[in-house]
């Protein structure tokens, strides 16, 4: 996804109690990989998918008694945008590093365990990939490490081989 582009912003307020509502929204926003610009203000690079996802979260915030507005915006300067993109890239890099470490640990495990770790980490890579708007160098290493697990898993069932 390109920089110097349009962003979708969500400005929101959620009632303090019950705190489960705030946590639900936090988790959903985390899952989308938003940049946190401030208290109750998050951003994502705008495309059809991110705009829709932000819209639905806005709707849900309204249903839980909160309030929100959705904006389309561009950064005031390229430097600001680069800084936000760098933060998002660093957040994903940390997630890829965690996958890499787990894959390396699993490579030393028994075949059955290794094959389970492979499936789990593959799903995790897919999750990270969906919120990875500015791919860091760590992505490649993590993908490679997870692929390596597949090649060595003798405990793989028929379904796994078919993939």
């Amino acid at each position: 996804m390109s920089t110097a582009g349009q962003w979708v912003l969500l400005a929101y307020r959620i009632p303090r109690q019950p705190s489960t509502l705030r946590i639900t929204v936090w988790r959903k926003l985390d899952r989308l990989g938003v940049a946190r610009l401030g208290d109750g203000l998050v951003a994502l690079p705008a495309d059809a998918r991110t705009r829709e996802q932000i819209d639905w979260i806005a709707e849900e915030i309204g249903e839980m008694g909160g309030s929100s507005t959705v904006w389309l915006a561009a950064a005031g300067s390229a430097a600001q945008e680069r800084a936000i993109a760098a933060e998002m890239r660093a957040a994903r890099a940390a997630e890829y590093r965690a996958v890499l470490e787990q894959a390396e640990a699993a490579a030393r495990a028994r075949p059955g365990e290794r094959s389970r770790a492979w499936k789990r980490l593959q799903a995790e890579l897919r999750r990270i990939g969906r919120r990875d708007y500015f791919p860091p160098a760590e992505r490649e290493a993590a993908q490679r490490a997870v692929r390596t697990l597949a090649g060595t898993g003798t405990g793989a069932g028929a379904g796994e081989v078919a993939r």
């Binding site: 899952r31 059809a48 998918r49 829709e52 819209d55 639905w56 806005a58 709707e59 849900e60 249903e63 897919r126 969906r130």
Partner: protein, 143 residues
């Protein structure tokens, strides 16, 4: 009847349109509007912010329509799991078809307009329905 939704149709709207045609209204007319405020007075909006037939409480619009119209066919609820995961991707259900269906719909939206997407996805959902209907009857994957 007239039904309104947002342009740039993706999985949830395509599946809702199919569901409407198969189960609610054999001759639906779909209109596409960007803004919930521009929904024609005689049209029922779906999968749009503020609409009753939309995302609610973690459900996607397809699930909401099934609930609102008391459609309790288990095969439709099986399709709902696929639509939910392709649309929301929150791992509430195990729907291995979802990533594939998601990519197919995203690709279609790149090469054709919304009317055409609805036209093409009709048989797609018919096929998915038939597959899962047989799977449910057999208790295993059909040939």
């Amino acid at each position: 009847m007239r039904w309104a939704t947002r342009p740039g149709v993706h999985i949830d709207r395509a599946a809702c349109a199919w569901l409407i045609r198969r189960h609610l209204d054999p001759e639906p007319e779909f209109v596409f509007v960007d803004d919930p405020a521009s929904v024609p007075a005689d049209a029922t909006p779906f999968d749009m912010r503020g609409a009753e037939l939309s995302h609610h409480g973690g459900d996607c619009s397809f699930e909401t329509i099934l609930r609102r119209y008391d459609l309790d066919d288990p095969v439709l609820w099986k399709l709902a799991e696929i639509v939910h995961e392709a649309d929301i991707d929150d791992e509430r259900f195990d729907a291995p078809e979802a990533p594939g269906v998601d990519v197919i719909l995203r690709g279609l939206s790149m090469i054709c307009d919304d009317e055409r997407v609805l036209e093409i996805t009709g048989p797609l959902f018919d096929g998915l329905y038939e597959f899962h209907r047989r799977a449910l009857l057999l208790g295993r994957e059909p040939a």
